[in-house]
């Protein structure tokens, strides 16, 4: 609450400072107030669109993240991820979430496509705020996952093996990778 109040007062002092809007949004997110966080991230994105593309893109994804947590707004989520892609197509994060969005709906072709697109834009500097992007490996993970369902089974196996040799993979994902290598063989 102290940080929230701090950034709220900073916001009141200058409501047009996009970075303060974003910080306030982040504080609201940390205490589970997604709607409030959403408002301030969207303001930050609008205020920055012609000044700081990476931050703008990050803030658009932050608006998506709030509703993703709330659940039951899938069409809007997809649209907002597309907004992020349209604004900055050279970043991988929105592609990953679009891939996940489609794989959750068992739309494997679309999921595969977005994973492939994301993999064109890896090795970027991390975004200023967390947008549920564990790392570039997750795009390979999604490609491995979806390729299995579109008949590209050899490609899928190779990708799971590739993943199993990579560092810095979150435990929950590594467990899936190992499980898949074991069962798919």
């Amino acid at each position: 609450m102290d940080n929230l109040k701090k950034y709220l007062n900073a916001y009141v002092n200058d409501p047009l400072d996009p970075y303060i809007n974003a910080k306030l949004g982040e504080e609201y997110e940390l205490i589970g107030q997604g709607a409030a966080a959403h408002s301030y991230f969207l303001r930050a994105a609008e205020l920055l669109h012609d000044k700081d593309p990476e931050m703008t893109y990050c803030c658009i994804l932050k608006t998506w993240k709030q509703l993703h947590k709330t659940t039951r707004r899938l069409e809007w989520e997809k649209g907002q991820l597309q907004t992020a892609v349209a604004y900055l197509p050279q970043r991988p994060e929105a592609y990953l979430h679009l891939s996940l969005h489609h794989s959750n709906k068992e739309e494997w072709k679309e999921s595969y496509m977005y994973a492939c697109l994301g993999l064109l834009y890896t090795d970027k500097e991390p975004l200023p705020y967390d947008v549920n992007y564990p790392g570039d490996y997750m795009l390979i993970f999604q490609k491995a996952f979806s390729s299995w369902y579109i008949g590209q089974r050899e490609e899928s196996k190779e990708l799971w093996i590739q993943l199993s040799k990579m560092d810095n993979i979150q435990t929950e994902h590594m467990n899936v990778i190992k499980h898949n290598i074991k069962t798919l063989n």
Binding site: L4, V12, Y28, I31, G32, G34, E46, K69
Partner: protein
């Protein structure tokens, strides 16, 4: 136009506080449109509206419209109804943060909703006739969305928060939608329905009927217009209801905050709007005396205020921000002087009224010519009362030491206090106040004086005096509770046939008591009991008669000047020999 009232408030020493209900209960969806009410014991309660959506609202260049445009309610896509729930909360008196909250259980009166908006929207919370009510608009009982204000009594306790009754307020002639009626806090069952020109309606809770609708039966109460003015101000946008209407100022004025909505369409896109608010002040006869220019709270396009209190020289204002966040703003009253105000033909006061329900004490300066000299006056360095009450008591009793007092409505232990000086002269007594904050303050600052936290209206004064070693004759009785009708209730509770007093100061607040009940009744009671009114309509300035002072001729033999023929008796004129 002021586009950031919050900044102005903070610059003037105010504060802003976010209001939070845990996200686990709300899925993190919007909290907004908070209303406020101050209980008699000083507790501040709030109703927070929870909307089951997140508002998507793209501002500024609107580069990032969502797939449904720049403004969209992000409902669950499998249930697009706009659902409202309400949480009653207690706010921390110091920080104004939410201390505790309970969702209002409406299941007793709910019928299956059949329109897009579900629930009671934009609630205002208040007490009338000791009953706790919420009042807002409901649109879900008819399939055309017809909306009516509903007045709902709430039972609220430690483990209970239930809507016990729900009465739909019908209007004649018929309209499609009634919303944002502003309850008048000090006029039970009255609302400002329209602010420009003014229309006040009175609802009749006793005039009950029922109406069958598709999914159930509605309880209906009637309403009637009781004040209707035709002096419409020429303004670019209509003034719509927002906050409640609260008493404000020295002479029976009332204040509210209105809102207005500037709708527009983006080329080929959806409807959008800017919301603005204004302060509106009426005199006691409901003539507009001040109207501020429009302002925004925090610079957002969509903001909406439902709450307004006046407390300790601050306006406490609550509002929603983009339907997604809720705030309380503490606005020092002096900030009003920094606002821009309209000049319109009927206004004879272009400057904003400065409320003055409390005046800084009129301090006696050593060496001044006090009208009534008494023994030991030369040793008194300073006094504390607001209008020399402490010196008046000592004058009547010729500077008595070791006297006794009963102080009802103790307030602050020193600032403006009537017994602090007496205590320094070895008086003893009992000081009663219901407020926790007063209790803490007395414990800290006058730990050797007896303070009892108690409701003075229900106290057993004989028992209190006996158990605290006070005799049946007490030198000084102070009666001063807010609001003044509670002072009268406390007076009626004192057994004047058993307990006797030498000097009495009685606060009737005539300057804001339109029908003169408190002054008239208190005078009859005290004079019938044998007390002599010696100073009537004491005022801290030249226009706020608020107190009467009495002596008991049986005990007071001093030659006290009688001055009872003035409508306003400026305390300084009475006590200081010019």
């Amino acid at each position: 136009m002021i586009d950031n009232l919050a900044k102005l408030a903070i610059t003037n020493g105010g504060s802003i506080t976010p209001l939070i209900i845990p996200g686990e209960l709300t899925d993190g969806t919007g909290l907004c449109n908070v209303s406020l009410f101050e209980e008699k014991n000083g507790d501040i309660i709030a109703n927070i509206r929870h909307v089951h959506y997140t508002l998507y609202h793209s501002e500024f260049d609107q580069k990032f419209n969502c797939k449904w445009g720049c403004l969209s309610y992000l409902n669950p896509e499998d249930d697009i109804h706009l659902i409202t729930g309400n949480y009653l909360c207690k706010l921390n008196p110091d920080t104004l943060e939410v201390d505790s909250y309970q969702k209002i259980d409406t299941s007793k009166n709910d019928i299956t909703p059949i329109w897009d908006f579900h629930g009671l929207e934009d609630v205002r919370v208040f007490r009338w006739d000791e009953k706790l009510y919420v009042c807002g608009v409901r649109r879900d009982v008819k399939d055309n969305g017809e909306g009516r204000m509903e007045l709902c009594e709430i039972e609220w306790g430690k483990n209970i928060c239930i809507e016990q009754t729900r009465d739909r307020i019908e209007v004649d002639p018929h309209t499609y939608l009634e919303k944002n009626w502003m309850p008048i806090f000090d006029m039970p069952y009255h609302f400002v329905k329209w602010a420009n020109p003014l229309e006040i309606v009175k609802v009749n809770p006793e005039d009950k009927s029922t109406q069958n609708v598709k999914k159930g039966t509605l309880n209906i109460i009637s309403s009637e217009t009781v004040i209707s003015k035709d002096d419409k101000m020429e303004l670019p946008l209509g003034l719509r209801g927002s906050s409640p209407v609260i008493p404000f100022g020295d002479k029976g004025e009332r204040m509210c905050i209105t809102h207005e909505t500037d709708f527009f369409h983006h080329p080929g896109m959806k409807k959008d709007a800017h919301y603005y608010h204004r302060f509106l002040i009426w005199d006691k006869d409901w003539n507009v005396i001040n109207l501020s220019k429009p302002f925004k709270f925090m610079g957002a396009m969509i903001e909406f205020c439902c709450g307004l209190l006046f407390k300790d020289d601050n306006l406490i204002i609550s509002y929603g921000y983009q339907d997604n966040a809720a705030y309380v703003l503490k606005l020092p009253i002096k900030t009003l002087l920094d606002l821009e105000w309209e000049n319109f033909p009927n206004s004879n006061k272009p400057e904003p009224v400065k409320p003055n329900t409390w005046h800084d004490p009129l301090i006696y300066n050593k060496g001044e010519n006090l009208r009534f000299n008494f023994k030991g006056l030369e040793n008194i360095e300073k006094n504390y009362s607001q209008c020399y009450q402490d010196l008046f008591v000592l004058s009547c009793l010729n500077g008595k030491r070791n006297g006794t007092y009963l102080e009802i409505g103790a307030g602050s232990p020193f600032y403006g206090n009537n017994t602090a000086l007496l205590s320094e002269l070895n008086w003893r007594g009992i000081s009663l106040d219901i407020l926790e904050v007063a209790e803490q303050s007395w414990k800290e600052k006058r730990p050797n004086n007896k303070f009892i936290r108690q409701d003075a209206i229900n106290a057993d004064y004989i028992k209190l005096c006996q158990s605290n070693g006070l005799p049946r004759y007490i030198d000084y009785l102070q009666l001063d509770i807010d609001p003044a009708y509670n002072t009268l209730a406390a007076l009626k509770n004192i057994p004047l046939d058993v307990l006797e007093f030498g000097v009495i100061t009685y606060e009737h607040d005539f300057y804001i008591d339109k029908d003169n009940t408190n002054r008239k009744e208190s005078r009859k009671i005290l004079q019938d009991a044998g007390y002599k009114l010696v100073a009537a309509n004491i005022s801290p300035d030249t226009n706020s008669p608020y107190e009467d002072w009495y002596i008991n001729p049986k005990y007071i033999k001093e030659n006290i000047l009688v001055n009872t023929d003035k409508e306003v008796l400026f305390a300084k004129d009475y006590m200081i020999n010019g």
